[in-house]
């Protein structure tokens, strides 16, 4: 009887070449500085670059939306001003929670990429842009909901 373990399972086109993924641990900075929205957006791009399945992307998106909703809810219920002092801490916490899901789903895939000789892409430009644009949009959303 043929040994199942010795059947070829690696296809030549399994890993298409594309833009370099970012190190998942680096995504913690946009998460803490900008909140859940920037880290979720960047993580979805990273999931695509790492060739992760839809299940992993859905987990990142779900965690990001849940963290964002939690931030808005907690800020609206407990604080007057959503973007200063404790509001900022809640934002960083929400971003950190979203990042935990990112780390759980992308750390292994990134290490596999590194073991194949791949190098990490630079997060500086996209990270700063995401924090400025999406972090600002998130803060605006929190302020609007908290002020309503």
């Amino acid at each position: 009887m043929a040994d199942e373990l010795f059947r070829p399972t690696i296809s030549p086109t399994a890993r298409p070449a594309g833009r370099r993924p970012w190190r998942p641990s680096s995504l913690v900075y946009p998460a803490l500085l900008g909140g859940a929205a920037p880290v979720t957006a960047l993580a979805l791009v990273n999931a695509h670059r790492l060739g992760l399945p839809g299940r992993a992307r859905a987990a990142v998106l779900g965690a990001g939306l849940a963290a964002l909703a939690a931030r808005v809810l907690v800020t609206a219920l407990l604080l007057d001003d959503g973007t200063r002092g404790p509001g900022r801490l809640i934002g960083a916490l929400a971003g950190g929670l979203a990042w935990l899901a990112v780390s759980a789903t992308q750390k292994g895939a990134f290490r596999g990429y590194e073991m194949r000789g791949g190098e990490a892409g630079s997060l500086w430009g996209p990270g700063v842009l995401a924090v400025l644009v999406l972090g600002f949009a998130e803060a605006l959303l929190v302020l609007t909901v908290a002020g309503a």
Partner: protein, 290 residues
């Protein structure tokens, strides 16, 4: 024993001592039919593997297979070389051809497990490692493959436990010391990493990877980076939350000046964490070169 046999034994002994360049010189002295016998190809491919000259490893293995017929070891070398050249499907074909000839070969099983780990087929890799472990539970390659599997899954705790157990079984093995140092570094245990890498280099001073890792760990153990150890140990997320939480708590308690001072110190710490590693790397590199 004939003269060529003695010569090949000498090459094998040089490879055991990690003196691959000298082994290659010795192999180049072989003449006539001795140079094209199977063992010569196996040793040449092994020496080139140690030197990480993957294109030459693949060429030698292919030539050996062409001239001396199918051989599990040469197929394994070909698989290893193709893996390093990024041809994963080709590497799998070569390793499976080797395993078809010697299905109980621990080295081939571990090579195939590492390849599967690398392409994300961790379930299959785990089964292959289990099979290799059933044949030789304490074989260093089995420990390395187990470690790779846990590391690739992002399970650093398990990887560190495996590295510790591996080192317990093989206390002087440079690969065990290297993995022990690598995972300690990954988990922010800078002192432990430096110690392990230093011991790995002492055990095998010829390995460039060990030397490079030891140098990197020396950078992170530099006194100027001592203040950053809590950051490496706790990770960015926890450190950040502790710092921001402290600032917020001080503000809420009405201690605004103290909160401002802590905030200023935190800002300085952040800037130092970005600037200092590069600065120290340049400092150490400059001293090392002079």
């Amino acid at each position: 024993m004939t003269a060529p046999d003695r010569q090949l034994d000498r090459v094998a002994a040089l490879l055991d001592l990690n003196r691959a360049e000298e082994a290659m010189t010795e192999l180049s002295r072989l003449a006539g039919p001795e140079a094209t016998q199977r063992r010569a190809f196996q040793l040449r491919a092994a020496a080139l593997t140690d030197l990480q000259r993957w294109s030459a490893v693949a060429d030698t293995a292919r030539q050996g297979l062409g001239e001396t017929g199918p051989d599990a070891e040469l197929l394994g070398r070909l698989g290893l070389a193709l893996r390093h050249q990024g041809d994963h499907a080709g590497a799998e074909r070569a390793l499976l051809d080797g395993l078809a000839r010697e299905p109980q070969q621990v080295w081939l099983l571990c090579q195939y497990a590492d390849l599967c780990t690398m392409v994300g087929q961790t379930g299959k890799a785990a089964q292959l490692v289990d099979r290799a472990a059933a044949l030789a539970p304490e074989h260093p390659l089995v420990w390395v493959s187990r470690f790779q599997l846990a590391y690739a899954a992002g399970d650093d705790r398990t990887a560190q436990r495996i590295a510790r157990d591996y080192l317990g079984r093989w206390p002087d093995h440079p690969a065990a010391l290297f993995l022990h140092g690598a995972i300690a570094g990954e988990r922010g245990q800078v002192g432990l990493a430096q110690q392990s890498f230093g011991q790995a280099v002492a055990q095998d001073p010829t390995d460039a990877d060990y030397a490079d890792a030891a140098w990197q760990s020396r950078v992170y153990a530099h006194p100027l980076l001592l203040p950053l150890r809590p950051l490496y140990r706790l990770g960015v997320l926890r450190t950040w939350l502790i710092a921001v939480g402290t600032i917020v708590a001080l503000n809420v308690a009405g201690l605004e000046p103290v909160a401002a001072l802590v905030g200023l110190l935190w800002l300085g710490y952040c800037v130092w964490s970005w600037v200092a590693p590069t600065l120290v790397r340049r400092l150490v590199l400059g001293r090392w070169r002079s």
